[in-house]
């Protein structure tokens, strides 16, 4: 194994900072009993924990995909080592066969042959138009008729393996939480039964899937022959970054401006209202397009800033997040302003004013916590909305860098193929299913969090 050079992309920095912040918040929560109690309630919520498990799986994929490096090229000793132009991530390394085993063009899931006919020289038969065998997909099979048996056998074998792994895990949990029955009936404080059930589902699907992925293209291949499963895995990080970083840009602006406008009224309110009305009255896509194109020009005129294509794509992704964040805070801001207008007339706010509590303290202690449910709902809604917005923007050609895989680009590439006969459905279906799971899990988890933090419902 030759050496490698660690590459730190800007988005990696943000991602790992977020992880660190998450750990920090966790430590703070552990120190404050009321917060801990609230998170215990989240932990007791079965739906919440099931979706958290699923979310965690997505996050693990995203995190693995956020450790980048460049492989050293084989050079002569003594000469300064050259590194490959291609930036890889740990995830790429783990699924190397998926990344490298590219076909020529489309092939259906579990296909043995390509999806398009080609002219092939056959000794004795001359040139024939037929579906050629895939280079990698099912190439270990001598007889394509045994495909079903082979798939079933592998799936069963690895499925059993996954089951054993799960049983071992469940045994550990049961041992620590006082017996199988307690876990099964949900008598434990933490909703272990939900977590275990979700884990079972994840393991039973993923383990056979990856075992089969070595020999087959389980989700088929796309136009240029790349494995769809690999694209899905790479898209997860893009979606998470777009969802999270954009939210991080948008949230402070929306919350701060919304509350300030609603609480202080007067000219402050006028200015903020003017600002978001103006922003809102410009067609969103147009505004984003203008900003993205400007940014693209800047990037294109400064190629010397970027050592690799990946760095350029990454900066473009971050810029996109930033632009999306700047343009999408208005809705939440307006909502929070209205709610603050209502809250500020409530008697407990007036009671606080009568005590001479300072305005900022009232905002922090009395208004913000009572707006959190709206913020959480809006966040999750926006998360799914942003993932979708990315798809739309990629369609117009102003989304993420073409070299970067995202659900948006996948859907976009698959879009044209829906019109052809026979239809190419797998790209779209796979992207849709992955996005659906991600967004649904995020929604359900946010619901659980909101319920747990509402003292009235507890």
């Amino acid at each position: 194994m030759s050496g490698f050079q660690v590459v730190v992309l800007w988005s990696d920095v943000l991602v790992w900072l977020l992880v660190l912040a998450g750990i920090g918040v966790g430590v703070l929560i552990a120190k404050s009993p009321p917060l801990l109690a609230a998170w215990r309630r989240v932990g007791a919520n079965r739906v919440g924990m099931a979706s958290a498990t699923l979310l965690l799986a997505f996050i693990v994929i995203g995190l693995l995909d956020s450790l980048h490096y460049r492989v050293a090229l084989d050079g002569k000793p003594g000469v300064k080592t050259q590194y490959a132009i291609e930036v890889l991530s740990v995830l790429d390394a783990l699924v190397t066969p998926l990344r490298t085993q590219n076909e020529k063009t489309y092939s259906a899931p579990f296909a043995t042959h390509l999806y398009a006919k080609e002219s092939i020289e056959r000794p004795g038969l001359g040139t024939v138009r037929e579906y050629p065998r895939l280079k990698f997909g099912a190439s270990h099979l001598a007889d394509t008729a045994t495909l079903a048996d082979d798939v079933a056998a592998t799936a069963l074998r690895t499925g059993a393996l996954a089951l054993f792994a799960w049983l071992a895990l469940a045994a550990v949990v049961a041992f620590r939480c006082g017996g199988w029955r307690a876990v099964w009936r949900g008598d434990t404080v933490f909703a272990w039964n939900a977590v275990l059930a979700t884990l079972a589902a994840i393991l039973l699907v993923l383990v056979p899937l990856f075992a089969l992925a070595g020999d087959y293209h389980v989700f088929g291949t796309d136009k240029v022959g790349q494995d769809v499963l690999y694209q899905i895995l790479k898209s997860v990080r893009t979606a998470l970054i777009i969802g999270l970083v954009t939210t991080l840009v948008m949230l402070p602006m929306a919350v701060l401006l919304g509350i300030v406008a609603g609480y202080f009224r007067g000219w402050i309110d006028d200015v903020i209202q003017y600002l978001y009305t103006v922003l809102n009255s410009i067609p969103g896509v147009l505004l984003i397009a203008a900003a993205v194109l400007m940014m693209q020009v800047v990037i294109d005129t400064h190629p010397e800033w970027f050592a690799t294509a990946a760095e350029r794509a990454d900066l473009r992704l971050l810029a996109l997040c930033f632009i999306l964040g700047i343009t999408s805070w208005t809705g939440l801001c307006r909502l929070l302003r209205g709610e603050t207008l209502k809250l500020r007339e409530l008697e407990y706010i007036q009671a606080a004013q009568a005590f001479g509590v300072s305005s900022w303290r009232i905002i922090l202690r009395h208004i913000l916590p009572n707006l959190m449910h709206i913020v959480i709902i809006a966040l999750v809604m926006d998360f799914s909305g942003l993932v979708l917005a990315e798809a739309v923007l990629s369609y117009v050609g102003i989304g993420v860098d073409p070299t970067m895989t995202s659900f948006g680009t996948m859907i976009n590439n698959a879009r044209m193929e829906l019109g052809r006969e026979p239809v190419v459905w797998w790209s779209l279906a796979a992207a849709f299913a992955a996005m659906f799971l991600l967004v649904l899990a995020a929604n359900l988890f946010a619901d659980a969090v909101r319920d747990a933090f509402d003292p009235r419902a507890a």
Binding site: Y348, A354, V357, H366, N370
Partner: protein
């Protein structure tokens, strides 16, 4: 006519059925008013909804029968039931503001009933609508018919609601707290109207209320409900002369009245048991002063004491509540010392803006020149109907609303115009207790944090340990356990929440507590607890109260001084005895006579005020009260009267006092 037998209604919640109404039976004859009386959460409204089969989604009829002229209503298919609702039975709801559809005209809403039940459309329907509106006492019905609910005042909306109910010519009228949301003078009008209509048409009426005064005014027979059961049914005479059930007696004893001035009110300890934890024996046992061993074991059966007077109680004695136990609590003839808060010419005007440029086109004169003085340790009651500006006065005193003019002097220093640090220091001396205990506590903070907020903001107790100790001491002072510190407000009942709000205000040791209708959202028995607490606190700490209220019973019971407000101005002020015994302003007299008295011999001669309070944006010229005043002359229409002094403490703003 209506016969309810063993009606059981319940709510399904989390796999179990909770019975909200548990086997109640009563009958209503034609032309009779049967009043269901009880505190909130006793199942009164659910009963009414059950009779009309309008239960909320989680509600279920568990058993029993409801017969109207022998027809079993609970067995009817839904389509037939619709002919009964609004047709033979009609309902009036509590809140006139929300029971009319805001986007339909009055005419459309009455016409809907006529079309559905009488097949009346077009011109005959219109004639009938006009007739109905005239019957419910709406002037100029032709114009009102085409107006929308927002163009009507609260009292008129309730009249329209009654007209809608009458449109189907019902034999039974169900009125669910029909006047609770209205002012006393309007309440008197509506009650008169209902009584008149009922006598005229011979309708049966089921009146649901918590107000003993309304019961005394309206009912022929009374059923007292407690925790989903009827506990006593009696005729009006028997009920008011000889209540038998300890709960009924306690309800009477808990009423604040002038005769109880200076005494501690009788309270009912504890609260109504929750649906999930109903005791198996008598449901009142845990709160009953006469509880016996048998009460906890078996539910008492009906027992007839006199003809038509039945009661559900094991105890056979006569008077459960011992009046002698009410010991004197506060010094009432406290000498008026030098006032420490003086308010002069206080004005709060809200600008009305119109047009694109938001030009000021007028002012709402919410408070228009109010003068008050409060002495230490005394209670000043500020009385008036809704919209007269009394709450605004309270907030302007605290500088929560900036007064437009005038002065508020606290211990000699001027508050108006203060800001920042000096205002904060001054605020220490005045605090406020708000009307709605559900809106005045932040649901996301713990009780301890809520109470400590003032101390922290005003920099009183900096150290954590001292602060916690102070909070616990305050909680004990208002009669709450120390463990309440770590709990959230929603875990407490309305009365307990109001105690928390009082503790929060007391935390900064104010000399003046502004109480803005602190008991109007509470039940009678809980109101008594809070009034007792306020009195005890005044005796212990010597706080002065500015008591903002519309409830004269509370004023009579509690106040040393009274100021009566009408449309932003004080029309009469003086010591409580003077104002209440010898009211000089016609408005004060009308207010006093409009209050329904919870006694048999209540209604001697009543003064009925026509109309409602005008808008403070456009007050009548001259004396504000002249359009409703029986004594008004040309002089009243032209000039606002000077303040006339009756005695050293008693003054009135009227051209013709007395």
């Amino acid at each position: 006519m209506l016969e309810v037998k063993d009606l059981r209604l319940g709510f399904s919640s989390a796999r179990q059925m909770l019975a909200a109404v548990d086997g109640i039976s009563f009958t209503i004859a034609k032309g009779e008013t049967f009043a269901l009386l009880g505190e909130s959460g006793c199942g009164k409204s659910v009963t009414a909804q059950g009779i009309l089969r309008l239960l909320p989604a989680a509600g279920r009829v568990l058993g029993g029968s409801v017969r109207l002229d022998g027809e079993e209503l609970l067995a009817l298919p839904e389509a037939d039931m619709r002919a009964y609702r609004g047709g033979r039975m009609a309902m009036i709801f509590q809140e006139p503001a929300t029971s009319l559809n805001p986007v339909l005209t009055v005419g459309r809403q009455i016409g809907e009933v006529l079309e559905r039940h009488l097949d009346m459309t077009g011109e005959p329907a219109r004639q009938r609508m006009l007739e109905l509106l005239r019957q419910v006492g709406i002037a100029d019905p032709e114009r009102r018919l085409d107006e929308y609910p927002f163009q009507l005042s609260g009292g008129m909306k309730q009249r329209v609601m009654i007209a809608i109910a009458l449109a189907g010519e019902p034999e039974l009228l169900i009125a669910d707290e029909p006047t609770t949301a209205l002012d006393v003078t309007v309440q008197a009008q509506i009650l008169d109207l209902l009584a008149g209509l009922q006598a005229e048409r011979g309708m049966g009426m089921l009146l649901i209320t918590h107000d003993l005064g309304v019961v005394a005014r309206m009912a022929h027979r009374i059923g007292v409900m407690y925790a989903g059961e009827l506990v006593e049914v009696a005729s009006r005479e028997d009920f008011f002369t000889n209540p038998r059930h300890p709960y009924t007696q306690a309800l009477f004893a808990a009423l604040p009245e002038v005769s109880r001035r200076g005494q501690k009110l009788v309270t009912i300890p504890g609260q109504v048991p929750s649906l999930a934890a109903m005791p198996s024996g008598c449901r009142f046992a845990d709160r009953c002063p006469q509880v016996m061993a048998i009460c906890r074991e078996q539910s008492p059966a009906w027992r007839e004491t006199t003809a038509g007077h039945v009661v559900r109680c094991h105890w056979q004695g006569d008077r459960a509540v011992d009046d002698a136990a009410c010991h004197s609590l506060t010094e009432l003839d406290l000498q008026a010392a030098q006032p420490f808060l003086e308010v002069a010419e206080l004005k709060v005007h809200f600008p009305i803006r119109k047009g694109i440029l938001q030009r000021i086109v007028g002012h709402v004169r919410a408070v228009d020149g109010v003068a008050l003085a409060i002495a230490p340790g005394r209670t000043l009651a500020l009385v008036g109907e809704s919209g007269c500006g009394k709450t605004t006065v309270g907030k302007a005193l605290l500088q929560l609303i900036k007064p437009s003019a005038g002065s508020v002097r606290l211990g000699g220093s001027e508050l108006v115009g203060l800001s920042g640090r000096r205002l904060r220091a001054a605020r220490r001396h005045m605090q406020m207790v708000f009307q709605d205990p559900f809106a005045s506590l932040n649901p996301r903070l713990r009780v301890g944090e809520i109470i400590a907020e003032g101390m922290g903001a005003l920099g009183l107790e900096k150290e954590r340990a001292a602060q916690t100790a102070a909070v616990i001491a305050l909680l004990q002072q208002v009669g709450l356990p120390a463990e309440a510190v770590g709990r959230f407000p929603h875990e407490f009942s309305g009365g307990q929440r109001q105690r928390i709000a009082i503790a929060r205000a007391l935390a900064v040791q104010p000399q003046l507590l502004i109480c803005d209708e602190p008991t109007s959202a509470l039940d009678v028995s809980v109101q008594a607890q809070i009034l007792n607490l306020l009195k005890a606190l005044q005796a212990d700490l010597g706080v002065a109260y500015l008591f903002i209220t519309h409830n004269f019973a509370v004023v009579e019971y509690l106040a040393h001084d009274v100021a009566v407000m009408y449309l932003g101005r004080i029309v009469e002020r003086g010591q409580a005895e003077e104002v209440l015994r010898t009211p000089q302003h016609p408005y004060t007299r009308a207010l006093l006579s409009a209050v329904p008295v919870p006694r048999l011999e209540g209604g001697e001669q009543r003064i009925r005020l026509p109309g409602e309070t005008p808008s403070p944006a456009n007050p009548p010229a001259g004396c504000h009260f002249h359009p409703r005043c029986p004594k008004a002359t040309d002089l009243c229409r032209q000039t606002y009267p000077e303040t006339t002094t009756i005695s050293a403490t008693h003054s009135v703003a009227c051209h013709f006092p007395g």
